[in-house]
Symmetry: C2
Subunit: 292 residues, 2 copies
């Protein structure tokens, strides 16, 4: 019996960082699959994986764990094209930001293949292997959405991998609930950031930004193709939370326009108290949920 | 001729930090005026000023520089109540986040008193003297809105004070333009942060926040009384930028609901490019405008 093998498909920011973080995990060899010579050269120079390949399909029969790190359309396409090449009994993961669409696509896999949707809640404003680092996941949340067929052995293996990458916690949920929550906690923040940057004032206000502006707009420098996919693959949940924030902005604006200090004070008090409460709960560590 | 004197009225986060940062400035004594025994004791223990007093009015005839660090209503009230007690030829400053309303209130001062509106673009999510620190202003923007009567001597003195506090730059503008810009770069971020925190999902999503959520909502734990004042004193400019972001959120939502990937991609590309461009300009240091 040879060495066990993890195949990371796609060495961008997340895939590259995972390949780096997973090196030295138990007795696994980490193989990184790339598409371009540029990425190959950069990954090789960085020592991003134990071995690099241009042929992920050829590696599938020998891979005990496969981690799909393409964009959502790339993951769905890869699953459909290669569904019969996976090693029986292997564990297949993905790392993209929407889970229902990916879990549905994984329904095409044979019964002997175990798929667990994953979403490492880590990132940067910049993409690509050049920005990858093995420490990217430290103290971040790792959300997993196991399907009904997920085995205890695979869940335990996944948890050991998460520990090795130094994730702060592992949170198990359903793909539907993941997508609802991520619409609010992540996708909405991106819609807000780009909406703020679309203002005519952006360039004329340069030099007048404080920390709040830099923080709110930090994620606006996003990858348009990737986020077009993420937004449209989670359209109902995202549209709902965007409509909610539109409604609340309108209510604040109305109170401001009317000079209605009483209503404004009441609204600001409620929101500020909610924020302080959740900050307190976070400081107490209540948000580190039990891992599976 | 005795020692020159700076009187800081109100030792909260900003006033306390300024009093600390200004100690050792040329041959000035820094006097801090407080209202409560609690603040007095804390300020004394921290060495926040060279001397502390409960009687700002009594200090006015001997103060060469007066820095009003109350909330906007407190500043306006102080100017009206004590307008005839200021030392002729003195320089009066304020540090609050709206400038037109304060500059108008300063119109009640005698001609011999020079008022320059100031807005240090620094802050924290927490308030009060306990959170003050002399390093708060390092590398932040210092916006000043001199009135027509401001003398070159006072502008030069203000600049030397800003240097001593280690501000990153001093930006001179009109109070009207300040209020328009601050509506967009600061107040809007606070309206957005509270609007996000008002969502029913806030507590159920705990543990699912990434950096973008924490960054966008950081400033939501605001002081409701202070921000009610700031928002209503800048109502027209603020309502305009809130309406603008509502409109753009609605356009993103419509494209998402319609699954209109082409429009969505075009919108995201434009916003992302704008953000990258302004980040680049900032990295080049173009935003450090010439000081007066």
């Amino acid at each position: 019996m040879g060495q066990k093998r993890i195949l990371v498909v796609g060495l961008g920011l997340i895939g590259g960082s995972l390949a780096m973080a997973l090196q030295g995990f138990e007795d696994f060899e980490v193989v990184g699959a790339v598409r371009s010579q540029t990425t190959f050269d950069k990954a090789e120079a960085m020592g991003a994986a134990n071995r690099l390949t241009f042929d992920p399909a050829g590696e599938l029969p020998g891979a005990d764990v496969v981690i799909l790190c393409q964009d959502p359309a790339g993951i769905v396409g890869f699953l459909q094209e290669h569904k019969d090449r996976f090693k029986p009994g292997c564990l297949v993961l993905d790392v993209c930001g929407v889970k229902t669409a990916v879990m549905e696509a994984a329904g095409c896999l044979p019964e002997s293949v175990d798929f667990i949707g994953c979403h490492p809640m880590a990132g940067k404003e910049v993409s690509g292997i050049a920005n990858a680092e093995g420490t990217l996941f430290r103290n971040t949340h790792f959300i997993v959405t196991p399907g009904p067929r997920a085995t205890q052995e695979h869940l335990a293996l996944l948890r050991r991998m998460a520990d090795h990458c130094r994730f702060g916690d592992v949170i198990e949920t359903t793909c539907q609930r993941h997508d609802e929550m991520i619409a609010y906690t992540s996708q909405l923040m991106h819609v807000i950031a780009v909406s703020v940057c679309d203002d005519d004032e952006l360039f004329s206000c340069k030099g007048f930004e404080g920390g709040s502006f830099r923080d709110c707009t930090r994620v606006a420098a996003l990858d348009p193709a990737m986020w077009t996919q993420l937004f449209t693959l989670n359209a109902p949940a995202l549209a709902k939370v965007v409509a909610g924030v539109e409604d609340r902005l309108r209510r604040y604006r109305t109170a401001i326009e009317n000079g209605d200090r009483e209503t404004l004070y009441a609204m600001l008090s409620t929101a500020s108290t909610r924020k302080k409460q959740i900050d307190l709960e976070r400081a107490r560590g209540d948000d580190v949920r039990p891992a599976f």
